[in-house]
């Protein structure tokens, strides 16, 4: 039986700086009509390049499709000239693509209407006015309210979620046979992500369109995919049905991925098992199994023979591995790895039962307003209430998770605490002293007790400084070392502490991988011996296998040094895994505070409930049985908060009184507080 799309032995390479990067190295897969196929892999695995190559959309040069076939409806697309009419008919006509970045994938200087019409006129040969009508209809279908007017809007007038809806409309506009969604929801907030994926699924199901989901998010895959291809270092290492892959993974990499990610339904004491090491440099890809250097099951055969081909391990289930360990072996090895890392941690410093001490930080009624100016004289007309009356406290040695979607004010809270902003009002009591209004010079002695780990480890490290200088900077600024020798010794110590070899200290940031750079950032934060560290999305930019390494590192450091963390993240599974208590924010206000257990197992605020429901769990069996609460609409901008409870316009429980007063944060027992009049 012939498939709708069949890719055979695709090889794509990029020539960069005299090196040849084999981005896609012999990939074969197929897509059948109406099915949802997921391509899973970490960054650099070649999953996106594979999809772009199908339509010859990779930039050439430097990219080059070396060999392979892409059979679509019996035609080899790779044989077509990229400028030919035939290929252009396929692009956007028979195969639609939704790209990752909704913020940049739409042309900023054309109205969305025109961008939609363009495809319709081109492929469906509609007239201008027909195209307009159809564009409006499409916008309506993807859930853009007031589509008649907004068809004339420019992309910047839409939120990220809305833009991605428009991208979906665009990709679907010409009723393609295949829709490729390349990390289409990755950049979006969880609730939006959930909405969009549901929308996407409904559309493809109703039109019998095949959907190729390219993603790194195993949860999304588990929830939506029929079949899965797992990619690693430019090749497919395992393929099979969704349930097969999750229930009975055979390739060590697939297993590693599943073990590395925290799940919303994990037991709390579960140790994440990171995949040690880094993916190979694809310009020097070994001829042997690419995963071998990181594989715990490797044998002599793996090191000698060429990379293993995909071999059937079950009906419709293939894996590329010589060893193909069984499920039992996997769990044994996992336990061993956990034990090993625990032993090493135990040797360094005995793991103490986590105990929390006195309150180290107390935030009381914190307000952070930014003025909005208007008119000729830049008169202040109103405030953006980025943080509005937020209170919580942190005890020594605990980890507080601060979660919420974009615009909720979580980063602003962190910056206000670190006094990168001057708070508008409220108190921030740190080590017994209110620092909210403290003059900058009096802050200095306190500064060394707090530190920040940034999200973007690349842009936050000065590219002209060596790693040692970066890490050592706080030592010098705070005059924490007396001599050169002590300085050097302390730097070596810090490097070792975060798991970097001290020999690397003379390198520059670009010579480190993303995970290593994040370790550098942590080392720098640790340099002044702080008690309190703010981790602002500190792991969000990392691949899952690396994420686990950093999470584990943070946990070990906390145990060893008795650190207190304020852990800001949008990934609720990670927060659940690491936090003792969790603060949920929505549009500048705290809606719920509780210890992790009550919050995740017994969320009270409708927003928290919706948020948790939106997070996909990487397990198709669990996903099948989950109840879906999909909240409607987008998060309003902080400037246009609804009156009363900010969540009232999206809340399933909302009544008129919700719009009349701002619900206070009320204690409902056991350290669990909720800001909702319907709950308490």
């Amino acid at each position: 039986m012939s498939h709708l799309l069949e890719v055979k032995n695709l090889k794509v390479q990029f020539k960069l700086d005299g090196r040849t990067v084999k981005a896609v190295d012999g990939v074969s897969f197929h897509v059948d009509a109406g099915e949802i196929v997921a391509i899973v892999g970490e960054s650099g695995s070649g999953k996106s390049v594979t999809q772009y190559s199908i339509l010859q959309l990779i930039p050439a040069p430097p990219g080059e499709i070396v060999e392979g076939e892409v059979l679509f409806e019996g035609t080899d697309l790779l044989k077509l000239d990229p400028r030919s009419q035939e290929l252009r008919d396929v692009r956007g006509g028979k195969i639609g693509i939704i790209f990752q970045e909704p913020m940049t994938s739409l042309n900023p200087v054309m109205t969305v209407g025109r961008q939609l019409e363009e495809s319709l006129i081109l492929h469906l040969k509609l007239s201008r006015s027909q195209a307009r009508e159809r564009a409006i209809e499409l916008l309506r279908r993807v859930g853009i309210p007031d589509a008649e007017h907004r068809v004339n809007y420019y992309p910047h007038q839409f939120s990220g979620g809305m833009r991605q809806r428009i991208m979906i409309a665009m990709a679907m506009s010409c009723e393609p046979k295949i829709l490729i969604a390349d990390e289409a929801t990755t950049a979006l907030d969880v609730t939006t992500q959930a909405q969009l994926l549901e929308l996407l699924r409904d559309i493809v199901r109703s039109t019998n369109t095949a959907l190729v989901l390219v993603t790194h998010n195993l949860g999304v895959v588990a929830r939506f995919a029929d079949r899965i291809y797992v990619m690693y270092a430019g090749g497919i290492v395992e393929s099979g049905t969704c349930k097969d892959i999750f229930a009975n993974p055979r390739h060590p990499y697939t297993v590693g991925l599943l073990r590395a990610i925290p799940r919303l339904d994990d037991p709390k004491d579960r140790k994440l098992v990171p995949i040690d090491g880094l993916p190979p440099d694809l310009s020097q890809k070994p001829t042997t199994c690419a995963f071998m250097p990181r594989c715990v099951y490797r044998t002599a055969r793996c090191a000698q023979e060429p990379a293993p081909p995909l071999t059937p391990v079950g009906p419709g289930h293939e894996a590329a591995c010589y060893v193909l360990p069984s499920a039992e072996e996997f769990s044994a090895a996992a336990n061993a790895a956990t034990a090993a890392s625990e032993t090493s941690a135990a040797l360094a410093a005995p793991v103490q039962q986590k105990q929390t001490g006195e309150t180290i930080l107390e935030v009381r009624n914190l307000k952070m307003y930014f003025p909005v100016t208007k008119g000729l004289l830049k008169r202040k007309v109103s405030d953006i209430k980025a943080v509005d009356d937020v209170s919580f406290d942190i005890r020594r040695g605990e980890t507080i998770g601060l979660v919420g979607e974009s615009g909720c004010g979580k980063t602003t809270v962190a910056r206000a605490i670190l006094r990168m902003y001057d708070p508008t009002d409220g108190q921030i009591v740190f080590r017994g002293q209110d620092i909210a209004k403290l003059p900058k010079k009096d802050l200095r002695p306190l500064r060394r007790h707090m530190a920040l780990v940034f999200q973007d480890s690349y842009s936050s490290l000065d590219p002209r400084l060596t790693a040692a200088n970066i890490v050592g900077e706080p030592l010098k600024v705070n005059r924490l070392v007396a001599s050169r020798a002590e300085y050097d010794r302390r730097i070596d110590e810090l490097f070792e502490l975060v798991g970097l070899r001290p020999e690397l200290k003379h390198r520059y940031p670009h010579e480190f991988s993303g995970g290593q750079r994040q370790r550098l950032g942590i080392a720098r934060a640790l340099a002044s011996n702080p008690d309190f560290i703010v981790c602002d999305e500190a792991i969000s930019a990392l691949d899952v296998s690396i994420q686990a390494q950093i999470i584990n590192l943070l946990e070990e450091l906390q145990a060893k040094l008795g650190l207190t963390y304020l852990f800001i993240a949008h990934d609720l599974s990670v927060v659940r895994h690491i936090s003792d208590r969790v603060v949920v924010m929505y549009l500048g206000r705290v809606v719920e505070i509780a210890d992790w257990k009550s919050l995740y197992e017994n969320p009270k605020h409708p927003y928290t409930q919706a948020l948790l429901a939106a997070v996909p769990i990487p397990d198709p069996f669990v996903e099948e049985q989950r109840e879906r609460i999909i909240i409607q609409g987008d998060i309003p901008s902080v400037m246009n908060k609804p009156p009363g409870c900010s969540f009232s316009n999206r809340c399933p429980l909302a009544t008129k009184e919700c719009t009349e007063q701002v619900p206070p944060l009320t204690h409902v027992g056991d350290g669990h507080s909720v800001a909702c009049i319907k709950v308490s």
Binding site: Y52, L55, L57, P59, P61, R83, L87, R88, D89, V90, R91, G92, G93, G96, I97, F99, Q100, E101, T104, S105, L106, N107, P108, V109, M110, T111, E118, S119, L122, H123, Y154, H156, M167, M170, K374, G375, L376
Partner: protein, 313 residues
Amino acid sequence: MTTMLLRRLVQAVIVLFIVTVIVFLIMHLIPGDPAQIMLGSTATQEQIDALRHQMGLDKPLVVQYFLWLGNVLHGNLGTSIFYNQPVTQLLAVRLPITLQLGLYSLVVSLILGIPAGIIAAVKRGTFIDSIVIFLSNAGVAIPVFWLAILGVYVFSLKLGWLPVQGWVSPFENFGEGVRYLVMPVLVLATLPLSSFARQTRSSMLEVIRQDYIRTARAKGLKENVVILRHALRNALIPVITLLGISLAGIIGGAVLVEQVFNIPGMGRLLVQAILGKDYILVQGSVLIIGAIVVLINLATDIAYTYVDPRIKG
């Protein structure tokens, strides 16, 4: 948008005001007494004093400034010391010439520079690209003065194709006018042309890499539609910034080109006025040039909002 334009306008007026103050101060603080200069070496002290009084030079500087400003607001830029004619009248003859020169140069530099930049970007790394890069770098690096001399030497003296100097209004005699215009316009256009080509090329390259260009290609659009409809308008945004700067530069370059090609425009008038310490003429001319530059910037801002919808509101 209206608010933004209003704000720009107010800023422009303030800038103009500051310009007038500076020009006024400079012309009054450098040594030399205009009355003395006017009367020459045979004048008696009484004559000089009388003229100083007549010209208001014996009043405090602040009073002089506001008297001048008051006149300006009534459309009276004063009477040139050297020409003994109203400044407005002097400018009325010369300004249109400089504006023509500037406008033609701008049009030429846009018509040639932007397509050159597009072609170079689209054909990146090819021979055509190298040629555009080489020529535009040369155009930016070569001093206008040198270029003018070279042009005259080659095209006028050696080949005899074009006149050495002079000005014939193209409105009066189109053929002759164009012959006289070719060299000054090309010389004046060289720098902005090269800048436009460079900027267009680099911003095109930047834009071509953008996600929305990939989106456009993924729609199946023809390559030239992708380039002209999707890429160009985005790539033009930085070119517009350059446009404002270049226009100011063209006005400055016109001063030099007018000297070399003996074109009776504003630049020559201004140079003579400065050398002759004809401060009234200098003030008037600088005010007009300043107003033009301010207007150009205002126009650039409007063009911005047209090309880039994100700026509106």
